[in-house]
Structures are given as C-alpha cells and as structure tokens.
Symmetry: C2
Subunit: 327 residues, 2 copies
Amino acid sequence: MKFATLKDGTPDGRVVLVSCDGRRALAVPQIAASLLDALQRWSVVAGPLQERCDALNRGEAQGTFAFDPVACAAPLPRSPQWLDGSAFLNHGRLMEQAFNTPPIPQFDTVPVMYQGASDDFLGPHDDVPLPGEADGIDFEGEFGVVCGPVPMAASPAASLECVRLIVQLNDWSLRALGPHEMKTGFGFLQAKPSTAFAPVAVTPDELGDAWGDGRVRMRLHVQWNGERFGEPHGGEMNFSFGDLVAHAARTRRLTAGSIVGSGTVSNVLRAAGSACIAERRVIEKIDQGEIRTGFMRFGDRVRMQARFDDGSDGPFGVIEQQVVPAR
Amino acid sequence: MKFATLKDGTPDGRVVLVSCDGRRALAVPQIAASLLDALQRWSVVAGPLQERCDALNRGEAQGTFAFDPVACAAPLPRSPQWLDGSAFLNHGRLMEQAFNTPPIPQFDTVPVMYQGASDDFLGPHDDVPLPGEADGIDFEGEFGVVCGPVPMAASPAASLECVRLIVQLNDWSLRALGPHEMKTGFGFLQAKPSTAFAPVAVTPDELGDAWGDGRVRMRLHVQWNGERFGEPHGGEMNFSFGDLVAHAARTRRLTAGSIVGSGTVSNVLRAAGSACIAERRVIEKIDQGEIRTGFMRFGDRVRMQARFDDGSDGPFGVIEQQVVPAR
C-alpha cells in the first residue's frame, strides 16, 4: 500500500491511498482519520485499507481523484518520536573529519542516534524557512521507517517486525551549529531544523526485492539547483533498520507512528557522489586539498528521488524544496 | 489557574481545574478537551477557564469533586516537544567530573540542551519500568515551563512572554549509558527513559513572587526511600527560562504545548543536598575521596515536592514513584 497525506488545516492532515502508478488517490475517511490514526489501529484497519487499495489499483474504486504531490504534507505531519541514526559509516567517518570531532567510541558496533523534533515536519514541496545563511544550510538525503508499537528492549529481529512503512526524507541540517552541539555532548538541537519527507510512505512489500536485510536497496538521486549531486545506494547501510529501531527502544517503548532514520545515505566509492554538502566538502578537502563547495543560499533548491536498481522511479515521489529566509 | 489531567484511556487525558487548596477539581469539557487542546487555543479559552477557576475557588461551581493526584497522568501526557536544559551550572560542572567528559565549550554563556521523547510521559505516581539495575538508575528533580507558540529566533524576553504554565518534573536518567552517548556527540537517547511530572501545572501568577526573573524561586525537596536527599533552591538557575526557550527556538518554531526543562536543580552550597544521585556521588568522591552511594534498585522509591521559601507546600503536588523491572 502507498499512503500520502493531503494538507487540510488539521495537525495530522487527511490520509489518502495512492495508486501503484502514483497518479490516482482515494480518500478513506471511513477507515482512518489520518495516517497516524491508521498506524495506531493498524491491526484493525490494515485489512480494509488493503481492500480499498486493491480496488483503487483495479480501477474499480469510486471517488478517486488525481494525486497531487504539491498538495501533500509529510506522510506524518507530526509523529510521536523522530530518531535519526547514522548507519552509513562512510558518512560518519567523513563527518568526523569535517567537524574535527573526536572519534566516536564503538563506532562500528553500536549505532549512534539523535532525537529530533517530530511536531512540525515539512511537506515535500514546502519552502524551508531558516534564520540565516551563515548557519551553513545543508540537506541530508535519507531513508527511514515508520514503526508500529515497539516494546522496550525489543531485539533487532523483533524490531524489524514492527516496521509498518518506509519513507524517504531530507534531514535539514545547519553545519555551522553542529560541531558545537556535538562538543556539548547533549547532541543536535539548533543544528536540526524541521525535517522534510517525500510525499508517499509505502508498506515494505511495495519495494519488492529492494527491501531486504532491513535495508532500502535503492539509489537516492540528489540534485542541487538542477545539477547532479550524487546517487548513493541505500544497500550499503552498515546497521540495518532492525538494529536502529532496537537501539531506539533499548530503554523506552516506542508508540505507533515513531520514525527512525538511516542517517545520510553514503557510499565508499566516490563515484556515487554524496547526499549532503558537508560530505562533499570534506571529500574535496581530502582528495583535492581544499574545500570548493559552499553551503546553500536563500533561493537554492534541492531535489531528491529514490530509484530502483533498474533505473525506474521509486514509489516515494520527489522532495523538491527551496530555502527561504524565516519571516 | 491550576490544571491537572486525569487518566481516561485517551492519549491526552481529561483536563481538570484544581482549586487553590488542591482539594477540589472541576472538569471543563465544554471549554477544552485536554490541556494540550487548551494550550493550542489559549487566547480563546483562557478567559472562560479563569471564570470557571474563580467559581471553583469561591465554592460556587457545580459538579466539583475531590482531587485525587493518584488518578493523574502528567499534566500533558504527551507534548509536541520536550527540551531539557542544564541551567544550573553547579550541576553541570559536577557532572563533567562524574562522567569524566571534556569541558563543554561556552558553558557559562550558551545553554546546553537535549531533545527528549515527549510521547509517553509518566504520571506522578506511576511506576517506572526499566530494563535493568545495571544501567545506573537515577532521578533528576527539575522545574519546567510549558510554552504557547514560540516563533523561530524569538529573543529571551519574547520567549519568556510565551510561557503559559510552570511544572515540576523528574527527568529519569540511566547513568551507565549517559557518558557513552555524550561521547558520540549525538546526545542522550537510551540514557533518558520516560520523564515524569508532578500532577499540577500552574499559570505563573500562582507562584506570586516565587516566579521572577524567569526562574522558579522555590526549594525542591527530594526524598529517596523516605530519607532526605536534598532541597536545592530553583532561584540559583544560571540561565533563565527565557534564555532556555530562546535557545530552543533559535532555528525552529515551537508549537503550543512544548515543554522546556531547567535541568537538575543544584546549589553551590553543599548543605542543600542534591536532586540526583549522580551529583551526590561525585560530591562524595570530591569531599570524602570515595563514592559511597549506589544508584537505585528495583523497588526503590523517590519523592519530590517543591516548597515556598516560607516552608509551605508548593502548588505542583507530589511526585512519588517506584522503580520496577520492565516486563
């Protein structure tokens, strides 16, 4: 099943089913008021939702309409928790050099993860209001999973069973503020403004073989102001989403709708490019001796889209956003 | 006005007004469905709530009932964001020694703050389920503020104007997990299980002179298993709540109902005792050469109550909780 959320002025928005080809949508108010509501009552609503989804894809559903990604909020405009890992160790190692921070202990064996704000997510085409260009505005292309309820201290295998949906996201970051917040030991706060999401959240079966071993085996194609920036592959994730969700749930239960992110998708081979500017900058420093790329300016745009290994478009749709000065 | 939330099986609970003497309660379903709902529509509901509150305190309201703190959830059982500072520098300096972590840069001039989970708060008398005693179970007595909407980049003065309610809380902590998470730079996650709150949230006017300069000038009396542990004074906070809220809102807007905490209340004078075990332990190490106090065991209880400077009970009520093994 493919879900999206249309903006309707309410905090959780209006959930719709999206057809296989991404062209048609079907509202399901008789089944769930919002995607969060559906996740909170998944065992009851999953069957009826699948029935409506099948009818939509057979062309037999009444009341379908053209799906407009520009009208979308994030699939979950707010969620109980947003926990973002750093599961691509290539990215983590490069960022240690970029930030000049001490080596992270047990880096290869214990995931690192920060807690982000989850009350005010951005839609896929929303402007990104930020206070100033001097903060080092950067995008971070990622995959993530939306969980059902996860009990405290669940194993990685049990945690993976709790994955309900897969999402694609842009974890907006302010690089001038990150190193100080890392050095406090209290973690990212000002360095992480509102996170944005691609319009469509999908059940794992929608990815076929591209969902395996707790990883999204797809390339994330990133463009900055219309130019290719990179297309790193999600299969290279060093920790699985089962590992990440279990890490998050070690001393707390997760309530339905909690989102866990992969961290910036990143590949060892330089040819893949990058999914964030900070990584490109440190690669320039290492490979060419100097940083050549600046961070984003107001008016800049970023575009992100996941594709299957055969080159076909992924089911998540496109993130395309512009950075603007906060009023 | 004094508010509490009774458990009713819904995620946000049922809001009630509490009388001046803390003995009577009055439901207000015709005005607000929950305290979060009231905060989201504060400009509309504050007047009607004050009218009902005045009637309650004059003994003229119909349908009042005995207020039972044991039936309470946290005033906000869930909130949009939970951001906890470390505004008592005495505590911060001692914790650097306790954790053996590097000095925090700009410690005296820039607040430190972490983002906690805000979807699953504990009520004042709820058991505290945790996975194991080896994690170093500790309490942290704090004050906090509940905000209305705060615009991005609001000044400390403007941020202080956004404070709607004041709360008293116990920021449960797992000390064996904290130092590693600080060293990752990503901040506390597993080290911070669900936070607990005293039953009553109050508007600032309820504190009289005890609310001033953006600080709660009251002593927080802490008992562990019935024995006095400390009663540090909140007036010694080195950053004001205006400073803390402004720090939180530097690169994001805060939505109504977001909670900002003071960090562990802590005083320079040793006679005040402590509001967390980790602080007592490092003081023992410094003053007596060895740590004598262990962390909490399953079955242990902690009690926290704020008192005015004249020794009278504060309006927040009592936190009294027992630590139990997670199922």
